[in-house]
C-alpha cells in the first residue's frame, strides 16, 4: 500500500498564511458554557480554557464554502496536498502552554505541515496528517504550541 507519493511528501514543511484572531470575552464564555467548564475564571470569560484554541484559527466558512460532508472545500489542501483519502477524523493533540489566553488578546496562528504517514486501520488504509500550530502575539511572544493530528480514511 502506497498512497502517499513523493509529490505529497514534498509538502512537508510548508505553512499556511498567518491568521490573526481577536479573542473576545463572549467567545470564551460560549466555549466555556458549551464544554460545561466548572472553574469560574473560564465561565466568566476572564481566561480561556486550555482547549479553547481548537479550530480558533480555522476558516470561518458559510454554507456555500462546504463540501457535502460539511467540511471546508479547502479542508484537504490546508498546508498540504490534496490526498487520495478525504474523509477526516480527529486524531489527537499535543499542547504546550506558555501563558493563558485572555479577552482582548490579539493572536497570530501559523500552521505548518510537519508529518504525513500511512497506516493500515481496522477498516482500511489511513493517512495521518500532523500539523504544528504556533500561536504568538503580534510582538512575537509565544503563547502556545500545538501539534494536531488529523486522520484521513
Amino acid at each position: 500500500m502506497t498512497l502517499l507519493t513523493e509529490e505529497h511528501l514534498a509538502w512537508i514543511g510548508t505553512s499556511d498564511e498567518p491568521v490573526t484572531v481577536e479573542v473576545s470575552r463572549r467567545d470564551i464564555q460560549k466555549y466555556a458554557r458549551a464544554t460545561e467548564q466548572q472553574l469560574q475564571e473560564y465561565l466568566s470569560g476572564d481566561e480561556a480554557p486550555p482547549m479553547f484554541v481548537f479550530n480558533l484559527f480555522g476558516e470561518v466558512c458559510g454554507p456555500g464554502d462546504l463540501r457535502h460532508d460539511g467540511l471546508s472545500r479547502s479542508a484537504d489542501t490546508h498546508s498540504g496536498p490534496r490526498l487520495p483519502l478525504n474523509r477526516y477524523m480527529a486524531g489527537g493533540t499535543e499542547l504546550r502552554f506558555h501563558r493563558p489566553i485572555r479577552p482582548g488578546d490579539v493572536l497570530i496562528g501559523v500552521r505548518t505541515l510537519v508529518e504525513m504517514f500511512e497506516k493500515e486501520g481496522r477498516s482500511g488504509p489511513l493517512i495521518f496528517i500532523r500539523r504544528e500550530l504556533a500561536i504568538t502575539t503580534a510582538d512575537g511572544e509565544c503563547v502556545m504550541e500545538e501539534i494536531q493530528t488529523a486522520i484521513a480514511r
Binding site: 460560549k30 464544554t35 472553574l39 480554557p49 482547549m51 460539511g70 486524531g91 489527537g92 493533540t93 499535543e94
Partner: protein
C-alpha cells in the same frame, strides 16, 4: 485544601466525572468552535454515508473533558505546562463517557507532576488516553 506537592503522591486518582453528550450539547460545542462537519449533527448522513452507528462525539470535545479532569483537580492551583490526548475509538451520542486520571510521577526538585488521563466508555474501553504535566508549589 490546595493542591501542592505535599498533598499528593504517585498513584493518587483524580476525581472521575461522567459526561453525557446530547444533541443540544453537541450543537453548542460545534457552534462555539465553528465546526460544520455533518457527522456531529446529521444522524442520517453519519450512519448512511460515513458508516457510523450514531452521531459522533467530537474528538476535541473529549479532549476538553480530559483537560478539565486536570484543571478541575487543580482548581486554580499550580500551572498546566503541557497536555496531550489521542482519539483511539469513536464515541457516539447516547454513550456515557467517564473522564479521570492518576498521578504517574512526581519530581520534587522541579515541582513537576506527570498525570495519566483517560476517557472511557460504558464498557470500560479507553476511547481517549492522555497525559499532562503540571507544576505544583511545594
Amino acid at each position: 485544601m490546595p493542591v501542592t506537592l505535599k498533598s499528593i503522591k504517585v498513584g493518587d486518582e483524580l476525581p472521575r466525572r461522567e459526561h453525557e453528550a446530547s444533541n443540544v450539547s453537541l450543537f453548542l460545542y460545534n457552534a462555539a468552535v465553528w465546526n460544520p462537519h455533518r457527522i456531529h449533527y446529521d444522524d442520517v448522513y453519519a450512519r448512511e454515508q460515513e458508516g457510523y452507528s450514531a452521531l459522533v462525539i467530537d474528538g476535541p470535545l473529549q479532549g476538553d473533558w480530559l483537560c478539565q479532569a486536570v484543571t478541575n483537580w487543580l482548581g486554580g492551583d499550580g500551572e498546566l505546562l503541557s497536555f496531550s490526548y489521542s482519539n483511539r475509538l469513536a464515541a457516539y451520542l447516547g454513550e456515557t463517557l467517564t473522564s479521570g486520571g492518576r498521578i504517574a510521577g512526581v519530581d520534587p526538585d522541579s515541582g513537576r507532576v506527570e498525570l495519566d488521563l483517560y476517557i472511557e466508555n460504558e464498557t470500560g474501553e479507553v476511547t481517549t488516553p492522555g497525559r499532562a504535566t503540571v507544576v505544583l508549589a511545594p
